[in-house]
Symmetry: C2
C-alpha cells in the first residue's frame, strides 16, 4: 500500500490511513506500506535548500529532503501500534539500494529478506518512499514523485501479489474530467495504455513506476484513501471478461506541444537525419514527425513537434545549421495541442484510427500532423480546437458516462 | 565545533555559523561540526509523536525526532559549499554506534576512520547531533540535549585537540546572573567543578557530555556563535598560570530540594540503612543526610533531602514502614534550598568551608544541613534565604565583577 502526501498530511489523516492498513492486515494479508512526506513538507525542504544554496549539492539536497518521509514513516508505525497492530518502520538506507544521479536516483535492489522477516512475524512494514542508499553509502532520493516507484520496487522485491497506490484521485479516468464532465473512471487498464495516458498528460502515477510494474508483471491499483471506492486496476493485459470494455481506454490531450516547420528542404537521402541530429545533440526530444515528399518536386516541407518550452531553442539550433541542412524558412507555432486515442484494441482494429479521423473531420477539426504507435493514434490540432476534439472523440468511442454517473 | 538549535534557527543564522566554521578551516584547522535541529523543530516533532500515540514506541520516536538534525546538517554542508569551503554531511547511522535504551541511548563507538578520510582531504565534516545507530541497526537518539554528548564523543573519536560548544549563553558564570547581577564569566573551570555546578543548577552543558570529556581528557570551550567573545574553557585541571583564579569557581543554588526529618528514631546499628533502603528500593535518591546522635539519649532525629517532586512519595514510603524502622514522627518541608560553593581549592584549603559558615552566620542565615565533597561544600537553608546566601557568598569569595563589568 502506498499513500501520497495528501493522505499523510497531519495526524488525523494518518489515523485514517492506519485504520485502512490495519483492516488489510486484520484480513490476513501481509502488508508493506510506503509513505510520502506530509503534503507541503517536501516543498518546504526544497525551499530551504534553495535559500541555503542556489546550486545545492545533490548529495546534501538528498539528506535534507529525504527527512520528510522519515517523519511520516515513524508516525504511521507508532499510530498502527497505538491501534494494536504490530508495525515497525524501515529506513531507505536499511533496505533500498539506489544508483545513478543523486536527486534522481534509480532503484537498484530491495533487501527483501529484511522485509520478509518482519512480514513472517505478522509485522506491518512501514517504509519512507522516494529514497534509498547510494553506492557511496549516502542518502539518495529518486526524484519528485519517486514514492510511487519506491512502492512498486518494494512490492516487486518481496514478490507481492499487488501494489495499491492511494492517491488524491480515486482512479484513472477516460479523459480529463475538466474537459469532459462525462469522463468515466476505468475499472481496468493495461500497463501499456497507462504509460501512453500518463506520458501524454494523465498525472495519476509517476511514469517510471508504471514502467517498472510492467517489467515486474506486478498488478497495480489506483484508489483513494478517503473512500471505499474500488479504484482502477492496472494489469499486464485485459482478460476474457474484460472484452466488454471499450477498445479505447481513454483520450489524452496535451497542450504542451510546439510545432516547427522547415520549408523548401531539399529531398535527399539522410535529410531527416540531418535535421534531427543537431536537435538530439542539444538534448531536444522530437515527438511527431511529418514529411511527405511531393511527387516530381525536389523540395518539400518537414514538420515536427517538440515540447513547447524547448521550441525556441530548437529553432535556434536549426537556424545555426541552416546552411548545412539546406532549407528556406523556419516556422514555429506554439498554439497547437496533441490529442490521442489510447487502447490495446488499436493493435487489432485499424478501423479505430479511421473512425478517429472521420469524427474529427465531421467536426471540422483540421489535422496538422498525425502519428501512430501500436496502441495509440495521435493528431496535432490547433490549441483552440483541442477541447472540442477530446469531447467529440470521447463521445464517438462510447466513453461518456451514462447520465447521472458523471465524475 | 558544536552549534545549538538557536544558532541553526533558519538559513540566515546557518550562514553566520558557516562563516565561523569556514574561518576555522581557513586558519588551517581540521574541522568537524555537530549540529542541533533548528530551535523549536524537535519540540514540533515530539508533539507529532505525542499526537500519534500517547505511549510512542521509542524506536519510532527516534526515527521521527532524529530528522531535525538531518535537515540542519545537510543545509549547513551546502551553505559551506556555497561559500567555497569543502564540506559534506555524515548521518548518525553512518558513523555513530549507540547502545542502550532507544530515546536515551549511549554513544558506544565513533567510526573515526570515515571522518579522518574526509579531514585528510580538507573537507569539513558536518554531523547531525543527538543520534546514532543502535545495535539492531536502527536510528537511536541520545536523549534531549544529546548533541553536546555527540560532539564530545566525535571529538574524542578523532582525537581532536578541542571541542567548542557554541550555545546561546556566552560562557559559564560564577553564579546565576539573575540572582547576582555582578556574576562574572569564568575564563577557565575544571571538569570536576563544571560537573558540580551543572549538577546543582547551571544549565549550560549536558552533564553527560562533561563527564565524557573528563574521561577522554578532551578540553572543551563554551562560547556564543553570535559574538567574538572568548567564552569559558573547561579543562582537566588548572595550570600554574591559573592560580590567580579564585579558589572557588562559583556558587550554585538549587530550590528543587525537599527536606524530610524523622524524630524519635531509635539509636541502633544499621538505623540509617533501615531508612535509606526502602527509599532506594522505590528509586528515590537521597542527597544530604544529617544524623547527630545526642550523647546519653537513646533516640535522636535523622534529616535528609530528596528532590522536591519526590518528597511526598518518600514520606509515604517511610510511613508505610514506620513500625519496622521505628520513629515517632515524620516532618516534611519543601521551602528549603541548597547553596554550594564549588572549587578545586576546597580540596587543599579547609579554611574555605569555615569561611562559608562564618559568612552565612554573619548574615543571620540558619543552616538546616551541611554536606561536603572534595570540591564542594553545600548547605541547606530556608528557601527565602537562598538568594541572600548566594549574594553574600559571591561577595565574600571575591567573585563579584568589578563595577562596570557585570554580566
Amino acid at each position: 500500500m502506498k499513500f501520497g502526501g495528501t493522505s499523510m498530511a497531519g495526524i488525523e489523516r494518518i489515523r485514517v490511513v492506519a485504520a485502512r492498513v490495519k483492516r488489510e492486515a486484520d484480513a490476513g494479508n501481509e502488508v508493506l506500506v510506503v509513505v510520502s512526506a506530509m503534503a507541503g513538507e517536501t516543498d518546504r525542504l526544497v525551499q530551504l535548500c534553495r535559500e541555503a544554496s542556489a546550486l545545492a549539492d545533490p548529495q546534501e539536497y538528498d539528506v535534507v529532503v529525504a527527512s520528510g518521509e522519515q517523519v511520516t514513516a515513524g508516525l504511521l508505525a507508532m499510530t498502527l501500534q497505538n491501534m494494536g497492530a504490530k508495525a515497525r518502520s524501515f529506513m531507505g538506507w536499511q533496505l533500498m539500494r539506489a544508483s545513478g544521479v543523486h536527486g534522481n536516483a534509480r532503484v537498484e535492489k530491495v533487501e527483501g529478506a529484511l522485509l520478509d522477516e518482519a512480514l513472517n512475524e505478522g509485522t506491518v512494514a512501514v517504509i519512507p518512499g522516494f529514497q534509498g542508499v547510494s553506492e557511496d553509502g549516502r542518502v539518495a532520493t529518486l526524484g519528485r514523485g519517486g514514492s510511487d516507484t519506491s512502492a512498486v520496487a518494494i512490492a516487486a522485491g518481496v514478490k507481492a501479489d499487488r501494489c495499491d497506490i492511494y492517491t488524491d484521485v480515486d482512479g484513472v479516468y477516460t479523459t480529463d474530467p475538466r474537459i469532459v464532465p462525462q469522463a468515466r473512471k476505468l475499472t481496468k487498464i493495461t500497463f501499456e495504455e497507462m504509460l501512453e495516458l500518463a506520458g501524454v498528460g494523465a498525472k495519476v502515477l509517476q511514469v517510471r513506476s508504471v514502467g517498472l510494474a510492467m517489467r515486474e508483471n506486478l498488478p497495480l491499483r489506483v484508489l483513494t484513501a478517503f473512500d471505499d471506492l474500488p479504484g482502477t486496476e492496472i494489469v499486464p493485459e485485459l482478460g476474457e471478461n474484460d472484452m466488454e470494455r471499450n477498445a479505447i481506454a481513454g483520450i489524452a490531450a496535451d497542450r504542451n506541444e510546439g510545432r516547427i516547420t522547415l520549408t523548401g528542404i531539399a529531398d535527399r537521402p539522410g535529410m531527416v537525419a540531418a535535421v534531427m541530429q543537431p536537435l538530439a545533440d542539444a538534448g531536444l526530444s522530437v515527438d511527431m514527425i511529418v514529411h511527405a515528399a511531393t511527387e516530381g518536386q525536389n523540395a518539400s516541407d518537414l514538420t515536427f513537434t517538440v515540447p513547447e518550452a524547448m521550441m525556441a531553442q530548437a529553432a535556434a539550433v536549426l537556424n545555426a545549421r541552416k546552411g548545412d541542412i539546406g532549407f528556406s524558412e523556419i516556422h514555429t507555432d506554439d498554439a497547437v495541442a496533441k490529442v490521442s486515442i489510447v487502447g490495446v484494441g488499436i493493435r487489432s482494429n485499424p478501423e479505430l484510427a479511421a473512425k478517429m479521423f472521420a469524427t474529427l473531420a465531421t467536426s471540422g477539426i483540421n489535422l496538422l500532423a498525425v502519428s501512430a504507435s501500436e496502441i495509440k493514434v495521435s493528431v496535432l490540432v490547433k490549441e483552440d480546437e483541442m477541447e472540442l476534439a477530446v469531447r467529440v472523440l470521447h463521445t464517438a468511442f462510447g466513453l461518456d458516462a451514462p447520465r447521472g454517473e458523471a465524475a
